[in-house]
């Protein structure tokens, strides 16, 4: 029984960094909105979207790289390449979704009677 307990403790110790991280960062909770930043020339709306596009593109490149390595025979991890592809696909869907929302709000504005 004591041995079983020490096993449990060691298992818990393995998960400790994850638990600590969750406690400290509370990443599972929606973050409170901080005060809106003052209009900063570096953080324009365009650069925000540009960053998003860049990150999505990065994911696509990672997926292409993984697939390339698989097809060239440098690795035999099919799942890595598939997971990377799924991830880049999801990121792209996310980007399109953001774009749709923006266009929609623009059209709402345009429809506003003056």
């Amino acid at each position: 029984m004591i041995e079983l307990n020490t096993d449990m403790v060691s298992q818990q110790a393995l998960n400790q960094p994850l638990v600590e991280h969750l406690k400290v960062n509370k990443s599972f909770q929606p973050k409170e909105l901080q005060a809106l930043p003052q209009s900063d020339t570096n953080e324009s709306f365009g650069s925000l979207i540009g960053d998003l596009v860049k990150k999505v593109d990065e994911k696509g490149k990672v997926a292409a790289e993984e697939t390339n390595r698989l097809l060239l025979g440098e690795t035999d991890n099919i799942h890595q390449s598939m997971i990377a592809m799924q991830e880049s696909g999801l990121a792209f869907t996310m980007l399109v979704e953001v774009r749709n929302k923006l266009v929609q709000s623009y059209q709402e504005l345009m429809k506003m009677p003056v």
Partner: protein, 142 residues
Amino acid sequence: MNIMPGLESTASALAAEKVRLDVIGQNIANAHTTRGPDGQPYARKMVSFEAKLLEVGTNSDGGKNFTTGVGIKGIKSDPKAGPLVYNPGHPDADEKGMVRLPNVNLTHEMVDLIAASRSYEANLQVVRTAKQMAQNALRMGR
């Protein structure tokens, strides 16, 4: 940006299951090998897994993110002796005509094969579900 979180541990489990499948394949392939490089009959190999901490990038505060993945602890040979059969015409027979066969039990290997295949499937299901969750979240706006 991590759209499907928690997949690093699943990916490590998939890689580990692939190693297990590889080892089972070796055992089945050598089920009738009576002589290895050391002159002994083939010994059945067993793979053992261990939980290990994986570092998965950094979070927004610059700290490191960790997850518990699967690693290969080692591949050990089964020390049990295989069955001894009488076959005097065999090139590896001793002076009494007995041949030591490998300790591979094909039935055991098939069961292990099923277990490995099912665990692989279970991990794939995790990937599928993670993707579906993200897709459902994206569909929230419609």
